[in-house]
Symmetry: C2
Subunit: 407 residues, 2 copies
């Protein structure tokens, strides 16, 4: 009789419970995929189970408990004991990745984490395995489903950010405390991991600049629709001449961009390199059973293959002042000379205007501009000065624009 694969399961919440059910419900498929039966040999929650006993009784540890303290201890102990670990814990990897990868490598044990980024969308495997010898130039992702749902809804309905967030909460697409989703922090953690894998360089969470979607206004989306642009919260990790940049920000995408059609709570990641052009993977970015399916895929692979353990091969500087194109929205006094004032400040600051439209009249007068690619620091100095003009009725608003660059 073949011995079963014994799985120690840490955590039994939404994803842990779904994983437990999948292992029970997909018995035959798993046995056929790994060549022997798989069983849950122990479950650890805050109320039941003993970690040391579970570790001793298991061939592989699946960490779905969340948090970064106990989870870190248990994952390190498991790796040191020579037991492969599968985790869906993005914060753990974003904050303690360097340590975890080092210990996995020293111990010669697999650490797999497909579900930590974009749930069931197999971006980790594609980056590490399909394209393991590719030198990526850029990784762009919609890696937070809550914000993509909100932006899609705002674009479709014209409703305000606040109303749409409330609707997302009702539908279960946003948590009661949505802070880490809407301010970009969740996406930043995922991009830190992705940038590390793609560029083989240590990227820490505090090196990722992030902005959220809290200040997006319905008229930004209306303007985007006119121009055939879509608004997305994008994570971008890019290789530049003198380092890399890893950032999360709302931005307008032209209609033909591969991430432009991604709507609702879906996630998607596009990887680029000259020899692959661009490859995009998309799918549901959350959900208990979907996330558990990604964990199950890792489990099969732990048994049947050797995942490459991430190794630092570079130590690339993480740059923050890079170039972007911007959309700029100014609520201005309806009087002659305002455009001239604004144009002079931009021009003096070295920011070149691509297009400008005057919209509305009286108390609704606005200037909507797009400026050419320039260093962000230059743009920000210029709009700081614009913000001090008497003719401004409120603070300037801006959103980055990613224009056509794909073939």
């Amino acid at each position: 009789m073949t011995e079963s694969l014994k799985i120690g399961l840490l955590g039994h919440g939404t994803v842990g419970g779904a994983f437990d059910e999948l292992v029970g419900g997909r018995k035959e498929a798993i046995e056929s995929a790994i060549g022997r039966p798989a069983v849950i040999s122990g479950v650890l929650t805050t109320s039941i189970g003993d970690f040391d006993e579970i570790l001793a009784a298991s061939d592989v540890i699946v960490e779905l408990m969340g948090g970064t303290d106990t989870a870190r201890d248990h994952v390190l102990a498991s790796l040191r004991a020579g037991k492969p670990v599968i985790t869906a814990n993005k914060q753990l990897l974003a904050q303690h990745g360097a340590e975890l990868f080092a210990v996995a490598s020293e111990s010669g044990v697999q650490l797999r984490f497909e579900a930590a980024i974009a749930a069931v969308v197999p971006v980790v495997r594609v980056v590490q395995e399909s394209f393991g010898a590719v030198e990526f130039t850029k990784v762009s992702g919609i890696v937070n489903g809550t914000t993509n749902f909100i932006l899609s809804e705002m674009a479709a309905t014209g409703a305000s950010y606040e109303d749409t967030l409330a609707r997302a909460q009702e539908l279960g697409y946003a948590e009661a405390d949505p802070t880490d989703d809407v301010n970009g922090a969740d996406a930043a953690a995922k991009m830190a991991i992705l940038a590390r894998l793609a560029f083989h360089t240590p990227v820490t969470l505090d090196q990722v600049d992030f902005e959220g979607i809290e200040s997006v206004q319905p008229d930004d989306l209306a303007y985007a629709k006119e121009l055939g642009l879509s608004l997305k919260l994008l994570g971008v990790a890019e290789r530049l001449a003198d380092g890399i940049t890893v950032r999360v920000f709302p931005c307008f995408l032209y209609g033909g961009h591969p991430l432009s059609p991604i709507e609702g709570p879906f996630n998607a990641v596009t990887v680029e390199a000259p020899e692959i052009t661009e490859v995009t993977i998309s799918g549901p970015g959350a959900g208990g059973v979907q996330t558990a399916s990604a964990v199950l895929g890792d489990l099969v692979s732990v048994v049947t293959g050797d995942a490459p353990t991430h190794k630092v091969q570079n130590d690339l500087p993480v740059l923050t002042d890079v170039t972007s194109s911007f959309y700029l929205h100014l609520e201005v006094a309806d009087e002659p000379g305002v455009l001239a004032q604004v144009a002079k400040v931009l021009s003096d600051g070295g920011v070149s205007v691509k297009s400008v439209v005057q919209k509305g009249m009286g108390d609704d007068a606005r200037l909507v501009m797009v400026v050419h690619r320039c260093l962000e620091s230059k743009f920000k100095s210029a709009i700081e000065e614009i913000g001090r003009l008497d003719s401004l009725r409120s603070a300037p608003r801006f959103i980055r624009v990613i224009e056509e660059e794909f073939v």
Copy 2:
């Protein structure tokens, strides 16, 4: 000193040459990915090289020669000699898959073929490894770049099929003899392989029904645009209650379908199952260096992991008479009673009309209809009868329609 990985390269055309260059040009990345240098130990073409010598001198065989006779002999000999094989040869796998997989399995050797389907788009890995324990319900794909380019161009320009094909040939997106691309045969070979992998069941090429795009008319695309539909040559492998269906046909997709935004020479595949919802992968479906990159990804994996060898686990009947919804385009005489005649034939045949629009007048009078899902055999009998009506000015044209079904 670590011993190099010795690669025997069969074939040195566009893809073979690009692979040779990649191995030379990406030395460091490959060494870092596989832990030792990789070298081409021998090249076989019609004019140089001896297969037996190359086989003896190689750790792994990369088959990029094409064809199904010599290629089959060499791949079988390599597997039997215990050497892993990587191939990009879809016809070889579609026609001799059963034999090749069986020999790979007996010999305990890896047979990898990511590049055979959709070039650099990592669909084989995702189906076999990420979702190795998932019971797929459906695999849909745009797996031929030539036809997708032609249909995208026809939709954008309104040009005829013949003119657009000529343009595609000029641009290098279509071959001088485009027959196997435009008639669906190339896509059918890829779908035979994908269906085999997804459903673990033997699917042979002759079980795949295929239709091409040769009879698509510009006004079909104009009609699609009005309705927000896109026209694609789709491969669909689906699990039904009493078997599977594997087919290739042009069809209209609603705007929110994940394959709807795929334009130009790109490929994309969507896999579906309840536990993963749907995951879509897209990217360039052809190109020497892109295809060679997929081969390189397989090479890295041959060294670092164990690919699951496809094993037949089911013997599902392949059904051909399944249900579809249809768009029906009739050029009719501009006289009273034609719609009533047509409606009666459809209704007598058990085909239910969803919508009908009368277009044009006089010699341009047409009926454009969409009918509800029905067995294809019923629909085809009905339109055969409609084709015999005196009031028809030309043979009926139809295109399948895939309507909203995703969430």
